[in-house]
C-alpha cells in the first residue's frame, strides 16, 4: 500500500491495534488468525489546533487541499502517490478523517475527483516535497477490505 516500506509507527494507537491482533493470534488456531492490516492513524493537538492523520502521507509525491481553507487553519489535505491516495491530514476537521482512511484502504484514485461539501475553488495538486526514500516495488499496491479485525483482508492490485 505504501510502497512496501518498513514503517516505524510511533503513535500509541498503533500499539493498541497491533496488541489486539497479536493477543488474538496467540490464543487462536492457525485458521482463525487475523492479519494486522490497520491503516496507520495518529493525532495531536498543537497550539489549539487538532491535527489528525490517516495512511502514510510521507510516501506521497503530491498533495491537494480537498476541503476547507488553509488560511482559516481548517482543512483536509489529501496525499497521493503515483495516482493513488496514500494518506490524508486534517486540521480542525477531524470528523472527516475516517472517510479518508476508507478511501486510502480502497487505494482510491488521486487526485480525488468526487464532489464534497466545503470544496475549495482550486483543487490542483502540488508536489509534496518529502525527502526521497528508496522504494523497492513501484507497480503494484494492496487494497484492504473488511471492518472487524476478523474480516480484514488484503488484496494485491496491479496497475
Amino acid at each position: 500500500m505504501f510502497g512496501y516500506q518498513f514503517l516505524a509507527l510511533e503513535h500509541w494507537g498503533n500499539a493498541v491495534t497491533q496488541a489486539e491482533v497479536a493477543a488474538h493470534n496467540m490464543i487462536s488456531s492457525q485458521a482463525d488468525r487475523w492479519p494486522h492490516l490497520a491503516v496507520p492513524v495518529f493525532w495531536s493537538t498543537q497550539f489549539g489546533t487538532e491535527i489528525k492523520s490517516t495512511g502514510v502521507p510521507s510516501v506521497a509525491d503530491s498533495v491537494v487541499i480537498t476541503q476547507g481553507s488553509v488560511p482559516d487553519r481548517r482543512f483536509v489535505a489529501a496525499y497521493g502517490r503515483q495516482g493513488r491516495l496514500v494518506g490524508a491530514v486534517t486540521f480542525n476537521q477531524s470528523k472527516w478523517l475516517e472517510f479518508h482512511g476508507r478511501q486510502v484502504e480502497r487505494a482510491a484514485p488521486f487526485p480525488p475527483t468526487y464532489q464534497t461539501v466545503d470544496q475549495p475553488a482550486d483543487v490542483r495538486p502540488v508536489p509534496a516535497e518529502f525527502p526521497e526514500a528508496p522504494i523497492p516495488t513501484q507497480a503494484a499496491t494492496v487494497v484492504v477490505t473488511g471492518h472487524d479485525p476478523s474480516e480484514r483482508r488484503a488484496e494485491f492490485v496491479t496497475r
Partner: protein, 378 residues
C-alpha cells in the same frame, strides 16, 4: 434508505453528503423549509457556514468558554419538574404528554434563551402553532406563517432588549458576543433561536413520553430505578437506542455517486438515514429488541467496545447540539416520575400516536396512580 448501523455511521461522516436541501434535485417533499423569510439554520447548512455558526453558538453553551450553562439549569429544571408533578396531587390519572413531557421543554428553552416568565404563555401558543408544520396531519400553513411572523417580531424585540441590558442567558450572550469569529446577524440569531426551540422541543417530549411508556411496560426496570436513582443515566441511554424520538433523518443529499454496501447512490439523490433501525441492527448490538439499560453499564463485563453506541442523537458534524440538555431533562423527569408516582400503570396500551413519522411518540399517555409522594422541597 439506509438502515444498517455501519453504513449509517459511514454516511454521517461522508463529505460527499450534504444537509442543505438546496442540493436536492429529487423531490424535496417532507423536508421542512424552515421559517419563511429567515436564512437557513445550521441544521440545514453545510460547512463552512454550518461549522462557523455552530462554533459561535457552542461558545455560549458548552465548555471551555461556557462551562456551566447546562449544569446551571439543573436546579431550575428540578423546580419545573417538581412543580409539574405537584400538579398531579389529589388526582388518580393524568396525561403525561400534556402535563409533563410537553410543558417541560418549553419552560427550559425559555429559561435558556432568557424569555421572561410572564411571556411564556404567549410563547407557548406560537410554539404549538409552529410545531404543526412538522405534522403532516394538520398542515395549517396560514397559522404557521402567522405564528412565525409574530414570534420573529417578538424575538427581534427581545434580542434588542438583551443587547441593551444583557442578562445571564444565552440570547444575551449571543447578542453581545465578543468572540474571535464575530457576531451573528440579527437574522442568523432569529433562525438559531427558532432552531433551538424546535429541535429541542418535540424530540424531548417524545423521549419523556416514550420513556414513561417503556418503563411502565417493564415494571421490573421501573422498580429498580425507584430503588437506584443512579440507574436513570443508563435508562435514558437505552431509551435513546430502543425507543428513540427521532426515527430517521430525511434531509441528506448525495453530492456525487456514492458506493456503499454494494450499491451506488446516484448524485443528487435523497438519502434517508434510518437512525432507529441502525440502533437495533443485530450486527451491531446483541438482543437488539430487548430493553436492557444494563448494556450501558460501563462496569459490566464483556461489552463490545463499539456495541454501546446508539444513533439517537445522530452523528458527525450535525450530532445533536442539545444532547447534554436533552439528557438532563429526560433524566430529571423520568427519575422524578419513578420516585413520586405510587403504583403507576398505563390506562391504554398502546396509546394513540402522533402521525409524524420522523418524530415518533404518543400523542397522549394516560397514566393512573394511587398517590403522589411529596416533592423533596415541599
Amino acid at each position: 434508505m439506509v438502515s444498517t448501523y455501519r453504513e449509517i455511521v459511514e454516511l454521517l461522516h461522508d463529505p460527499r453528503v450534504s444537509s442543505d436541501p438546496r442540493n436536492l434535485t429529487a423531490s424535496a417533499a417532507g423536508v421542512p423549509e424552515g421559517v419563511p423569510g429567515l436564512p437557513a439554520s445550521f441544521l440545514h447548512l453545510d460547512p463552512p457556514e454550518h461549522d462557523r455558526l455552530r462554533r459561535v453558538v457552542t461558545r455560549h453553551f458548552r465548555p471551555p468558554h461556557t462551562p456551566d450553562r447546562v449544569d446551571g439549569l439543573a436546579p431550575e429544571l428540578h423546580k419545573i419538574v417538581g412543580g409539574l408533578i405537584d400538579g398531579f396531587v389529589g388526582r388518580t390519572e393524568v396525561d403525561i404528554v400534556d402535563e409533563l413531557a410537553y410543558p417541560l421543554p418549553v419552560a427550559v428553552i425559555c429559561q435558556l434563551l432568557g424569555v421572561p416568565r410572564e411571556d411564556e404563555p404567549r410563547f407557548h401558543v406560537w410554539v404549538e402553532s409552529l410545531l404543526k408544520s412538522l405534522d403532516p396531519d394538520t398542515g395549517a400553513a396560514a397559522e404557521v406563517q402567522q405564528a412565525g411572523t409574530e414570534m420573529a417580531q417578538y424575538f427581534s424585540g427581545l434580542i434588542d432588549a438583551h443587547r441593551r441590558a444583557p442578562g445571564g442567558d444565552m440570547l444575551s450572550a449571543l447578542a453581545t458576543d465578543d468572540g474571535p469569529e464575530g457576531q451573528l446577524t440579527q437574522e442568523q440569531l432569529l433562525s438559531t433561536s427558532f432552531l433551538l426551540l424546535i429541535a429541542g422541543h418535540e424530540t424531548t417530549v417524545n423521549l419523556i413520553a416514550n420513556g414513561t411508556l417503556t418503563l411502565l411496560r417493564h415494571p421490573h426496570v421501573l422498580e429498580r430505578l425507584r430503588r437506584d436513582p443512579e440507574m436513570v443515566f443508563r435508562v435514558v441511554e437505552e431509551l435513546l437506542r430502543y425507543e428513540p424520538p427521532v426515527h430517521f433523518v430525511p434531509w441528506r443529499t448525495a453530492l456525487d455517486d456514492i458506493e456503499i454496501a454494494d450499491t451506488t447512490m446516484p448524485k443528487g439523490s435523497r438519502i434517508v438515514l434510518l437512525l432507529a433501525a441502525g440502533s437495533r441492527d443485530p450486527d451491531h448490538v446483541r438482543a437488539p429488541d430487548r430493553f436492557d439499560p444494563d448494556r450501558f453499564d460501563p462496569d459490566r463485563f464483556g461489552l463490545a467496545r463499539e456495541g454501546d453506541q446508539h444513533l439517537g442523537f445522530g452523528g458527525g458534524i450535525h450530532y445533536c447540539f442539545g444532547a447534554p440538555l436533552a439528557r438532563l431533562e429526560a433524566q430529571t423527569a423520568l427519575g422524578e416520575l419513578a420516585r413520586r408516582l405510587v403504583n403507576p400503570r398505563l390506562v391504554t396500551d398502546p396509546p394513540p400516536y402522533r402521525t409524524n413519522p420522523v418524530l415518533r411518540g404518543p400523542r397522549h399517555l394516560q397514566v393512573a396512580f394511587d398517590d403522589i409522594v411529596p416533592s423533596r422541597e415541599g
